[in-house]
Symmetry: C2
Subunit: 210 residues, 2 copies
DNA sequence: ACCGTTTTCCTAATATAATTAGTAAAAACT
DNA sequence: AGTTTTTACTAATTATATTAGGAAAACGGT
């Protein structure tokens, strides 16, 4: 029988172990590819045997699912933090695109897990999906505000989608070709200003203002 | 000892088997994910035992590598075919973007294998990489021509890269969210005109002509 | 300090996967 | 018909995910 309540010390210990398992899992995914996570290798790094991991997670998919939630949470934090300093819609666009890329560069394993589909058989749980939808929804709300400011022809949905597509395209290319270069540099990083300029132009297409 | 020359009949037979193995492999990758290809499942579908497959391929990575070359070859054919009808640089841009997306929709397994990195441990062979670079190089040459026609501020490299990033971004989003919808439809497919319009604007930015 | 309970980790076992070695049957060639 | 080549097999090796069941350590109250 699973005990619902444990002593604080036990619980802290448990959480510390869970945390270090997640860290080790991320390290493996970063080093060998997201889909290359193996319970054996994970156990090896934890100085454990593989079955012991099942005390902390119900299986490999549970680990992926937890990291999926962690990834979205971190990304949300990361972006929100950076958006505080925004000085207007142009700046906001720049921040959104740059944050997407730099988050991906700093956490490639979480990025791939959350925004690509590299693991056969992994489907985020209902709970995790809802979390991710909630975060994405905030984008649409922000876009709605931006739209009012701009009187553009595009719907707020379209604004979000084209910004995401642009960000994702630049990011994927950057990671595939020059993962070692920092954000803003390299064949694709250096295209950010051009991308921003394109987006600005289309956003101002019909409703010239501000 | 491997015999270098076989009778034509034997060779045709062999090639037919190789072909149907590749088809079966693609079916598995399409159904279960690119990284989910398994020699056992493949053998099952071929009515064979797994070790027999090693008569035709040196291993799973060899199959991936062959399909990688096939993917690039098919994409090249596909795009070249469609570009024949091009009526100018605007049309050419549209065709490039639409072809990228529709190739990905029609051959998701090859698309993912060639343009994403979903298989841990798979690195295309030297030969395959050279093939793919050769194909991509043709893009840069075409962009050089386009650039002369346009007198844009962007370099031909930049033109190619931003078109690729845009295409890839739209494609990845489309496949992740609405893989069943045909090219041009859905949340992301319907953004193609907007994307084209953005690209046109930036390409004409400094050198207004034609 | 002791004792029942909980927690943690283990070994053993099952099932599946990739790959190699060695071999038997079938097909092809002379 | 006899020899070679081709094809597919079984058996074995190594690695993986996961479950079952048990031992030892840690904990919590007395």
């Amino acid at each position: 029988m699973k005990t619902v309540s444990s002593s604080p010390r036990v619980q802290r210990n448990r959480e510390a172990t869970v945390q270090s398992i997640l860290d080790a899992a991320r390290a493996i995914m970063r080093e060998e590819g997201v889909a290359a996570l193996s319970m054996q290798e994970l156990a090896r790094r934890m100085d454990m045997r593989a079955p012991s991991l099942y005390n902390y997670f119900s299986g490999k998919m549970d680990i992926y699912d937890t990291l999926f939630r962690l990834g979205f949470g971190l990304y949300d934090e990361y972006l929100t933090e950076k958006l505080i300093a925004s000085t207007g819609w142009r700046d906001e666009l720049r921040i959104i695109i740059e944050s997407y890329i730099s988050f991906a560069l700093e956490n490639p394993e979480l990025y791939q897990l959350c925004f690509e589909r590299p693991v056969p058989g992994f489907v985020p749980s209902q709970e995790s999906l809802e979390l991710s939808f909630g975060i994405l929804n905030r984008f649409y709300q922000r876009a709605e505000q931006m739209k009012n400011e701009l009187h553009t022809e595009l719907s707020s949905e379209q604004i979000v989608n084209i910004v995401i597509a642009m960000s994702h395209g630049l990011t994927a290319m950057h990671i595939a070709n020059e993962p070692h270069l920092p954000v803003g540099q390299g064949r694709f990083g250096s295209l950010i200003p051009a991308a921003l300029s394109m987006l600005e132009k289309i956003l101002l297409e019909k409703g010239e203002n501000k």
